[in-house]
């Protein structure tokens, strides 16, 4: 299976600090991958390098085998690399409908059309509505995004990233800040995403990680520490020592055993 997304010797420095240290990483199509690591391990930096928000100091990023290291964010997005942000990045003055409509019209390369009214393309509107309804946003689709409850905003953050049907989706702590009762919904939605879409989940919540991920990478001090199937990583004593709270790991191992 060829990789949809991979990196080669990726390095990012901030002054003297090495935030990403020589990471070579590869993600097969349809992967269900989790990226974990202690606070300050450089997870968000790594995601920013993958999505193009930050340029690498050295090394390369490949999307579908193509070197995209110097591509801007939008170009990677257009070529099937989508992401959510740890802190919601939404258009507060838009409605969810408009937001998804916009994302779709960009995905259909109709975003620069200036001589027709937005919302006249039936395919886009239909698709937008169906995505919104799938993500339980149908009843609030005409409301102002800024006025939605946080949980709904979090769903919309995912909806925007999912709408263009990306090949790779990077989910940066999708459940962060979501009240306990609504986490389950987010997880269900993530689990129900199309099989062929490669997913990378950056998460602290081990429940979520072990329920979702088939493979796991552990990032410590900017470098890849351990990589492998979820069950193996969980059993790896080094991981236990370096990262996972002993009790938590035991709990999961106990559950798995």
């Amino acid at each position: 299976m060829s990789a949809v997304l991979s990196t080669k010797n990726l390095v990012r420095r901030f002054g003297g600090l090495v935030a990403t240290n020589d990471v070579t990483f590869s993600l097969p199509a349809g992967a269900r991958h989790a990226l974990i690591g202690p606070n300050g391990a450089g997870k968000t930096t790594f995601v920013n390098l993958l999505s193009g928000v930050l340029p690498p100091t050295s090394g390369q990023v490949f999307l579908d085998g193509q070197d995209v290291s110097d591509w801007p964010v939008f170009k990677r997005a257009r070529n099937g690399l989508s992401r959510t942000f740890q802190i919601n990045q939404l258009f507060a003055d838009f409605t969810p409908l408009e937001t998804i409509g916009l994302a779709l019209s960009e995905a259909h390369a109709e975003g620069a059309q200036f001589w027709r009214r937005a919302g006249t393309s039936k395919t886009i509107v239909d698709e937008a509505v169906s995505i919104l309804e799938q993500l339980d946003l149908g009843d609030v689709m005409e409301h102002r995004v800024g006025s939605l409850p946080y949980g709904k905003q979090r769903l919309l953050e995912i909806a925007i990233a999912v709408a263009p049907k990306p090949k790779v989706l990077l989910l940066d702590e999708p459940a962060a800040g979501v009240p306990e009762g609504e986490r389950e919904q987010i997880l269900e939605i993530v689990e129900a995403l199309p099989k062929e879409m490669a997913l990378v989940l950056i998460e602290h919540d081990m429940d979520l990680v072990f329920r979702f991920a088939k493979t796991i990478s552990v990032l410590v001090q900017g470098a890849l520490f351990v990589e492998g199937p979820a069950s193996e990583v969980a059993r790896d004593p080094r991981v236990r020592q370096v990262y996972l709270g002993e009790s938590e790991v035991e709990q999961h191992l106990g559950g798995a055993a």
Binding site: P72, F74, R83, A92, F114, R117, A118
Partner: protein, 345 residues
């Protein structure tokens, strides 16, 4: 859960289509405004020279609202395009000598729009670098360099004495500009404003326009959904420049004169003030702001020719302290209360 959601789609699509249509719909205050604007020419023909200034200023403000209110580019040098358009149209009308293609007002507007659009496109690459303060100063710097160039190139522009002998031909080959009938000039400028307003309104409601609002709202997210942010901003800046050029051309044609002050700093500063005064990113704010600003000035200057600036300043200060979003903020609040709906989106 997904299954149930799929079953529940009945009516969602048509509701969505209707929502989009409703949002772009013309509302009655808009019709009222335009009818009133055209009616003014017939009710108060004698004040049409002032109205003509308002219409030109409104178009100029509209052009900045596209750049500032929609593309989010803070420009303190938009007067560069206004002045360039004025000189282009003025020089053309001078070359035509009152007849023929060169003096044709419509031709003058088109050429001014094309030249300013082109120069706007080129300068947009400089402007897009940096944040607010940087953009402010780059636009300002470019405008000041333009002004200095026009001053230096006195052989072409007439320098500080102004450009003499601007003779625009008949409007559409039919009606002659006649200073005894300022309403002709007003109707001409207002028609141009109206047409360009409709175009701007259409563009703002298009996917392109929505993407501009998105960029202004959150450029990071806009990039992450695949919007080529810089290219869209290039486009918006180009459009704003072309519009400003047309406004300048209208001034040159209707006053048959171009002087260096079309390029002066105060034009750029005033128009920015007007857009904020009217309400940023609303299109109508530009028009209402221009009208309010000019009429206020006219009233105050008549009442106290030396100290009107004080009262104008006071109004600006009070408006910021007590109202959000300029005049349009005030108006849309009132409209929402009248129709009993929430704020218009």
């Amino acid at each position: 859960m997904i299954d149930t959601a799929l079953h529940a789609t009945t009516g969602g699509e048509s509701r969505a289509m209707a929502w989009f249509a409703e949002r772009a719909k013309w509302r009655w205050p808009e019709f009222a405004l335009w009818i009133a604007a055209f009616a003014l020419a017939f009710v108060f023909p004698s004040r049409s020279a002032l109205f003509n200034e308002v219409a030109i200023l409104a178009l100029f403000a509209l052009s900045l609202d596209i750049v500032l209110g929609y593309a989010g580019i803070v420009s303190l040098g938009h007067g560069a395009f206004f002045g360039l358009g004025a000189y282009v149209a003025g020089l053309l009308a001078k070359a035509g000598g009152g007849a023929g293609l060169y003096s044709d007002p419509t031709f003058g507007l088109l050429v001014a729009a094309a030249v300013c659009g082109f120069v706007g496109y080129l300068t947009s690459f400089l402007v897009l670098r940096g944040a607010d303060l940087t953009r402010l100063m780059v636009t300002l710097g470019v405008a000041l360099i333009f002004a200095e160039l026009a001053n230096r190139m006195a052989w072409l522009t007439g320098g500080a004495d102004g450009l003499q002998g601007v003779l625009p031909g008949k409007i559409l080959g039919l009606v002659e500009f006649n200073f005894m009938h300022p309403e002709y000039a007003y109707l001409y400028s207002l028609s141009v404003l109206f047409i360009l307003f409709i175009v701007a309104r259409k563009v703002i409601n298009s996917p392109f326009g929505v993407s501009l609002r998105a960029i202004k709202g959150n450029a990071l997210r806009a990039g992450a959904i695949g919007i080529n942010v810089n290219r869209r901003l290039n486009g918006a800046y180009t459009m704003g420049a072309a519009y400003a050029g047309v406004a300048g051309a209208l001034l040159a044609q209707t006053t048959a004169f171009v002087s260096l002050d079309v390029l002066e700093f105060h034009r750029s500063a005033d128009v920015m003030l007007i857009v904020i005064f009217g309400g940023v990113g609303t299109l109508y704010g530009a028009i209402v702001g221009a009208a309010a600003f000019k009429l206020l000035y006219d009233l105050l200057a008549a009442a106290t020719p030396q100290y009107w600036q004080f009262w104008l300043g006071l109004i600006l200060v009070l408006l910021v302290l007590f109202v959000r979003g300029g005049i349009m903020g005030l108006v849309s609040g009132l409209y929402a209360r009248m129709t009993g709906k929430g704020e218009t989106p």
